[in-house]
């Protein structure tokens, strides 16, 4: 019963706000209920609370940058959704496409040092097959010399309680699979070097697998319990420079990051109806 009420609650605003037309602007956090799964997208294109059958499997997908570059001043971390400068025509919008919805957004995002640090164009297709396909096209707006993690990354956060006691397979960049089952023990990851992976699979139930793939075989994986958090983080970046080496990135340099998430659906999803926003 609880689940049914939740679904009705999430569906209602979606029906009220979205337009059944070419592209509807997203002006605030918006729940989208596909029946078999639901997500929230906000006005900045950030995706939150990806749920299947009422359980949140992915809490956050967004663009971040650690700001670990030479000559940094102040808080140099970059987060999609903070300190953004919207480019003309780049506002977050949703439109119906074959087999799902497409979200687009273009903006500049900055930090305390550089108000326009990086420009990004995000395209997200939310499919009725449970496939979420992200594409971020990044253009650097500053000359910086990175000390690690050249270019911003796409971060996918999974709440640890959703993972505990469920089999996980990581396929590292050498195509070597590793199997993990997270137990309620942060020390489990101590002394274990998590691999750079190109694939993350979570066995939710027999034949129901949550899969995450990146265009680069370099997803950094971290278990935040090691430092007191409670998330499992996947960060997709470009090819990494060598350890301890600097990586200059020049203004105008571009990088494309593709990320796909296949949700463990038990049934087919349906595209939520898009309607004109209420006056």
């Amino acid at each position: 019963m609880k689940r049914s009420r939740l679904r009705l609650w999430t569906l209602a605003p979606a029906v009220a706000i979205l337009a059944w037309c070419t592209a509807a602007p997203v002006t605030r956090s918006l729940p989208l209920d596909f029946g078999a799964y639901s997500v929230k997208v906000d006005a900045f294109g950030v995706v939150k609370d990806v749920s299947v059958d009422g359980r949140v499997w992915i809490s956050l997908v967004h663009l971040i940058d650690t700001g670990n570059y030479e000559g940094r001043v102040g808080n140099t971390r970059v987060w999609q959704g903070e300190k953004e400068i919207e480019v003309a025509g780049g506002a977050t919008s949703l439109e119906r496409v074959d087999g799902g919805l497409r979200l687009t957004r273009s903006a500049l995002v900055g930090n305390a040092q550089y108000p326009d640090f990086v420009a990004y164009r995000e395209t997200l297709v939310l499919g009725t097959n449970g496939l979420l396909e992200f594409e971020y096209l990044l253009t650097m707006r500053q000359d910086v010399v990175y000390l690690s993690f050249a270019f911003p990354q796409i971060r996918v956060s999974l709440p640890m309680p959703a993972l505990l006691d469920r089999p996980i397979r990581l396929v590292d960049k050498d195509e070597i699979p590793s199997l993990f089952t997270f137990i309620d023990d942060p020390k489990q990851m101590k002394g274990t070097r998590l691999p750079w992976v190109q694939a993350f699979d979570l066995l939710v139930a027999p034949l129901r697998i949550l899969s995450i793939r990146s265009s680069f075989p370099t997803i950094s994986v971290s278990d935040s319990r090691a430092w007191g958090g409670n998330d499992f983080d996947l960060r997709s970046s470009g090819p990494l420079p060598e350890w301890k080496e600097k990586f200059p990135v020049v203004r105008g340099a571009t990088k494309k990051i593709d990320l796909s998430i296949q949700l463990p659906l038990a049934r087919a999803a349906v595209v939520p109806a898009l309607q004109e926003p209420a006056p």
Binding site: E70, G71, A150, P161, L164, D165, R166, P167, R169, K173, D174, E175, I176, P177, S178, L179, F180, T181, I183, D184, D185, P186, K187, Q188, K190, G191, T192, R193, D201, L203, V204, A205, P206, L207, R208, I209, R225, A226, W227, G228, G238, P239, P241, E242, K244, E245, K246, F247, P248
Partner: protein
């Protein structure tokens, strides 16, 4: 022997037909080059020494070599050679001239010779740094008014100052280039004159700069020439127009503003190719061109040299020897940029040619006439280069970290046909007080700046040598070694611009060899990466990935597909030498006495010398130290030389050249066969008598990998089960200058020496510079026997062999597979088969099914006693297993036999405190120290344990702590990390009546595909199911069970006890012992201010509520009395609880612990609501301990660390869970300062794990 039907079927695709049998050429090690290399004897020049630039026949040359008088004065301090004048030094030059040979302290000394090493009276050799004051008299040769007399040095320094008859002639920097002084006005023809030459060399920084030869290290000559002559002649072949551009500087243009200029160019046989006549103004740099008629291009394959003769005013003015060649970078049809030599793609088949280490210091301390060091003495350098030719090398990269090669080297390379990558190392010739590896080596930038003029001079001297092919401005100029914010970019840009301005040939420049492609913005023409990946303990699969990724990074970094070479990679050596080295370093470890503890001590020794031993472990493997197997050395050089070079060459779509970090002495040694990184010692035996150049095994591997026309097999793996198909690609290359047509032949050769299944495909044709790659599955004949089988590959034309190659396979014959196993009841704990079934991964259970071994899949250990054998499958360490350590321990003591297969995560071994699975580097090599153990039956040859199929060539992903239970070991981490460099991979231990094997070798995915692994698994199961326990199983030291308790609590089961009213101190303390502030009043460095606040598990398993002191009147923890802190209360207040709990968890820590083991350091008193009580004495070493460098204890998990400071979580199991606990009270024991931070209770009867799915 007939080929199998399968083979013939496969080969039908290639038009197979039977062929005449070829055989591989002999690969004898340690044989004199003259007996092994065809034509070597005829090409030797035992009378040869320094080679001089040609001069006009009419110029008169008088050598001044021989015995001079020298005064040596030590000077250790760093000197800026540019900031001193000629007077700097302890000797007054005027006194030297005044007293001549009678000056006190002068000794007889040969010229040329190096001052670097001085033989002492006791026979030892001392490195010398300081001044050399050389003097001698000479008779001034006759020279006329239109002639000039020059004093010519082929090389001296570092700083050289010269005087004649008291007149100062000038100074020169750097020992690498020839230089001269004009004596014409200082001496009279026919008179006696005295020379004084002062050299100064002080060594800075890098210890190996001690190998830099200094002093007057090359010949000194007097030269009478025409007063009007040409200097700095630079020629430039203009391929497009077929003409030679000539530039020169006239010796004295002011005297004659213009003059008739003529020139001729002659071919290799003296034939005239072109000429020029004209009248040119002589000021500046006159330029003219000579059209040439069909000049023969110079190349390593055909090193044809041309000669320019230049005349000014009708008199001979210069002679220049040069090559007609072009070396450019151009985009090929594949869109990538390549080196193009004379219009054809060049693949650099490189060698790191560093001759100075050829000669031991002891030898270098001997005068030349006593058989000591001398550059190219008795033609040694020529002989070494002849070996390079035999090894099919076409590019040499002299690593300039020590000696720089002078002009003699380039003259030999011109003649014999090598391109040279000049690796300038000016960064280390000035001001280097800081050792390599430390940050802040900014002086190296300054050093580069100061040596820029020397670089320009060297470039000018070498300008016309066709052998000078590539330029690097410095080895490994890493910005991270500089102070933050500093970069080599500006100075490297200066060098790049200087090279482009001075080099009419526009040689490709790589900036800094080894400077990662990702760093820096200085311009480069190509990338010389020199990474060692995949060599120390990696696999060939890893090298493939590295090549792909580096190519991608070059594109990202430069926005262009620049040529990519790796001129320093890998590290191979004469493996025979390793064994001698190790026995010298660890003389107590003899090959016939094996002491595990001694072995472990040696490999974990932190001394430098043992680090070198570990480096050799990584490169050469461990067993050479304990054996002397020619087969082993041959195989290692096959893997570490041939395959590595092949990987680059077959991936020519990604790369443009390769060179190993292999020294020339590795291939061919003259006088120093016992090279050992600077240590002395006895000669390695066996070694031929005499001083002949001797070849080692790697020569033949270079020869095969670098054969200009060659067939390679790019194999998936080389450990098949006979009858299977191995995926492979055939790569045919033609790097010769002519098109090639050939037949391809393959055949197997087994231990009996007979060739099997020979077949051939004819009609291949490749244009010069072309290559071909095609899929080439190899069906292995089913009748091949187990063990080593060599697949031989030949290219031939009209039945004559053009080239040969070979690949060692380690085979398992189906006939040798095990089909019957002892019958025992087997339990299998296998998460892949039980919990991960949805992923379809290979499992240990799957192996048992394939072998038909009955077994039960278990998911807990409750009925373990029913089974004599337990297998813990691959990837099966989980919470259930970790919590069952005690049960497993009991079962083993009673006689259980257990094998643990490979795991991917590091973990404690729950039944054994002695063992641990750990995550370090992966390795493609594993070596077995007890080949007689039943596990290795039939696969005793370690060469079968290398880079098998799958898993990127890693034989294991996790390894085991190195202790006395090891059967097999591997190098898994960097050799300088003494504690981690070598780990165990397979261990065998007895525990009570039982036994357990820990085996991290990857098996599940390879079983049935890889012959070695398949046989190993079958051996292991046969052994474990049998009754015998191997004598190699080492008894456990501790048969007691001390496993650590898992202290865990799910958040939904947690209830927090409110301590806010009971706490008395905050977390922060500003000043120690002032009676104010918080924690234990030990100041800000010893408080707990950084602890996360609120509900947090910290880094442990149990959630706690850590009080925010700012919301609780500054109080957040309860601190009680203890040593040094008597003022704190002896007991805490009663903490109200009022609830039922199954367990309580205490977050606490202790300072100044003075208790003995098991002695209580705090006691908690639990009072129930019926007034009854229970005590929890927190025992030192069991439940808690000192906060400093806290360690996990049996009931004390270290859940938080702030530097060396730590907190413990301890569990108390409530014996009366049905009764509510009214209160908790803490009592100090006086044995420590107890600090209680939080208490969490476990709800009674709560469900702990979400079982929804």
């Amino acid at each position: 022997m007939k080929p199998s039907r399968k083979t013939l079927a496969a080969l039908a695709l290639f038009g197979g037909m039977l062929m005449a049998e070829f055989t591989l050429e002999p690969r004898e090690s340690y044989v004199p080059a003259k007996t092994r290399i065809p034509g070597f004897e005829a090409a030797r020049r035992p009378e040869e020494g320094f080679l001089f630039a040609p001069v006009p026949d009419s110029w008169k040359v008088t050598p001044l070599d021989g015995r001079w008088r020298v005064l040596l004065a030590t000077h250790e301090a760093a000197v800026d050679y540019l900031a001193i004048d000629e007077h700097f030094g302890p000797v007054k030059i005027a006194d030297l001239f005044a007293q001549g040979d009678a000056y006190p302290g002068l000794i007889s000394f040969p010229v040329p010779w190096s001052l670097s090493f001085q033989k002492q009276a006791d026979g030892t050799v001392k490195e010398f740094r300081g001044f050399g004051y050389y003097t001698r008299e000479f008779e001034v040769p006759a020279f006329g008014k239109d002639q000039a007399l020059f004093l010519c040095f082929e090389g001296a320094g570092w700083r050289t100052d010269a005087w004649v008859d008291g007149q100062y002639l000038g100074s020169h920097q750097g020992p690498f280039a020839s230089f001269e002084f004009d004596l014409s006005k200082a001496v009279k023809p026919g008179a006696k004159a005295r020379l004084v030459v002062k050299t100064l060399h002080t060594r800075y920084g890098l210890s190996y700069l001690g190998d830099l030869d200094v002093g007057i290290i090359a010949p000194v000559r007097l030269m009478v020439r025409d007063a009007l002559h040409a200097k700095n002649v630079r020629v430039k072949p203009d391929f497009a127009n077929g003409s030679l551009q000539v530039r020169f500087v006239a010796s004295n243009p002011a005297r004659l503003p213009a003059a008739p200029v003529s020139a001729t160019v002659e071919g290799p046989r003296g034939e005239r190719l072109g000429s020029f006549k004209g009248n040119l103004p002589l000021a500046g740099e006159p330029i003219f061109s000579i059209p040439l008629a069909n000049p023969q291009p110079w190349s390593p394959e055909n090193p044809a040299l041309l000669t320019l003769k230049l005349y000014l005013g009708g008199h001979p003015a210069a002679v220049v020897r040069f090559g007609w060649r072009s070396l450019e970078i151009k985009a090929g049809e594949d869109g990538r940029q390549h080196f193009m030599l004379n219009g054809q793609r060049l693949y650099a088949r490189g060698f790191e040619f560093d001759t100075c280490w050829n000669f031991r210091k002891a030898a270098r301390a001997l005068p030349i006439e006593e058989g000591g060091w001398g550059y190219n003495r008795a033609g040694w350098l020529r002989e070494a280069l002849l070996v390079m030719k035999f090894a099919n090398v076409n590019v040499l990269r002299p690593h300039s970290m020590n000696n720089f090669h002078g002009e003699t080297f380039y003259r030999l390379c011109d003649e014999l046909g090598f391109l040279v990558n000049l690796d300038w190392n000016g960064s280390q010739y000035h001001f280097s007080p800081v050792q390599k590896g430390q940050r802040g080596q900014d002086h190296r930038i300054e050093s580069l700046e100061k040596t820029l003029p020397s670089f320009r001079e060297v470039l000018a001297r070498l300008h016309n040598h066709p052998s000078l092919g590539f330029i690097s401005f410095g080895n490994e100029l890493y910005d991270w070694e500089l102070s933050p914010g500093r970069t080599y970019d500006p100075v490297l840009t200066q060098y790049y611009e200087a090279q482009k301005a001075g080099d009419l040939w526009n040689r490709p420049a790589s900036g800094s060899s080894g400077r990662p492609v990702y760093a820096g913005r200085a311009p480069v023409d190509f990338v010389d990466h020199h990474q060692y990946i995949g060599v120390y303990y990696g696999s060939w699969q890893e090298v493939r990935r590295y090549l792909r990724e580096t190519r991608s990074m070059i594109q990202d970094r430069f926005g262009a597909a620049l040529p990519f070479v790796n001129y320093e990679t890998g590290d191979v050596a004469d493996f025979r030498v390793h064994a001698a080295n190790f026995l010298e370093w660890a003389p107590d470890l003899r090959k016939d006495v094996f002491d595990k503890a001694l072995f472990i001590r040696n490999v974990q020794d932190k001394s430098d010398i043992k680090a070198w031993a570990r480096l050799a472990f990584n490169t050469g493997g461990l067993r050479p130290y304990l054996c002397a197997l020619p087969e082993y050395r041959a195989r290692k050089s096959d893997l570490m030389v041939k395959r590595y070079l092949e990987l680059f060459r077959v991936n020519r779509d990604l790369t443009d050249g390769v060179s190993l970090n292999t020294m020339s002495f590795t291939l061919a040694s003259v006088v120093d066969p016992d090279y050992r990184s600077g240590t002395g010692g006895p000669r390695v035996q066996p070694w031929p008598d005499g001083s002949d150049l001797v070849l080692t095994d790697p020569v033949y591997r270079f020869r095969a990998a670098f054969s200009p026309v060659q067939a390679f097999l790019d194999l998936e793996h080389a450990h098949p089960i006979a009858g299977q198909t191995v995926k492979a690609s055939l790569v045919l290359v033609n790097d010769s200058e002519k098109g090639a047509s050939f037949d391809l032949s393959l055949q197997w050769r087994g231990p009996d020496g007979k060739a099997r299944a020979p077949w051939v495909k004819g009609g291949f044709s490749l244009a010069a510079g072309a290559h071909l790659r095609q899929a080439f599955p190899i069906e292995v004949p089913a009748d091949l026997t187990s063990g080593k089988q060599v697949l031989e590959v030949y290219l031939s034309s009209a039945g004559v062999k053009i080239s040969e190659n070979s690949y060692d396979f380690y085979m398992l014959s189906p006939r040798d597979r095990r089909t019957r196993f002892p019958a025992k009841k087997v339990a299998v704990y296998d998460l892949v088969a039980s919990r991960f079934a949805g992923f379809g991964m290979a499992s240990t259970k799957g192996m048992l099914e394939q072998l038909g071994i009955p077994h039960d899949l278990i998911t807990n250990f409750e009925r373990l006693a029913e089974y004599p054998v337990l297998l813990i499958g691959a990837n099966s360490f989980d919470a259930g297993l970790m919590k069952s350590g005690e049960a497993l321990h009991r079962w083993l003591l009673a006689g259980g036999r257990l094998a643990v297969f490979e795991q991917t995560t590091g973990s404690a071994v729950p039944w054994s405190p002695e063992d641990r699975i750990t995550v370090l580097g992966k390795s493609s090599f594993v070596e077995h120290w007890y080949p007689k153990h039943p596990l290795f039956r039939g696969i005793e040859n370690e060469m079968a344990w290398e880079s098998p199929a799958g898993r990127n060539g890693a034989l294991f992903d996790t390894c085991l702590e190195l202790n006395d239970s090891f059967l097999s070991v591997a190098a898994v981490a960097h050799f300088q990390d003494a504690s981690s460099a070598v780990k165990a991979v397979i261990t065998d231990r007895r525990l009570g009546k039982g036994e357990y094997l820990l085996s991290m070798i990857g098996t599940a995915e390879r079983f049935g595909k890889d012959g070695t692994i398949t046989r190993y698994v079958e051996n292991l199961l046969d052994y474990l199911l049998g009754d015998e326990i191997s004598p190699y199983a080492v008894p456990a030291k501790n048969t007691g069970f001390l496993a650590q308790k898992v202290i865990a609590l799910a958040k939904e089961d947690a209830e927090f006890v409110d301590l806010r009213a009971a706490v008395n101190r905050g977390f922060a303390d500003e000043k120690a012992a002032d009676g104010e502030g918080g924690w234990t009043d030990y100041g800000r460095d010893s408080d707990m201010r950084a602890i996360p606040l609120g509900v947090t598990p910290l880094s442990g398993l149990v959630p706690f509520t850590v009080i925010d002191p700012s919301r609780n009147g500054g109080r957040s923890c309860l601190v009680l009395r203890g040593p040094t802190r008597e003022a704190f209360p002896a007991e805490g207040p009663k903490i109200a609880v009022g609830r039922k709990f199954e367990k309580l968890f205490f977050l606490h820590t202790f300072m100044y612990v003075k208790a003995s083991a098991n002695e209580p350091i705090v006691e908690y008193l639990m009072t129930y609501d019926d007034g009854k009580t229970e005590r929890f004495p927190v025992k030192k070493g069991v439940d808690g301990g000192d906060w400093w460098q806290a360690k996990d204890l049996p009931n004390g998990a270290t859940v938080y660390r702030d530097g060396d400071k730590g907190l413990y979580a301890s569990e108390w199991v409530n014996p009366n869970p049905k009764k509510a606990i009214a209160s908790i009270q803490a009592f100090a024991t006086g044995k420590a300062i107890p600090i209680l931070i939080a208490v969490t209770g476990k709800k009674k009867f709560a469900q702990t794990i979400d079982k929804e799915e």
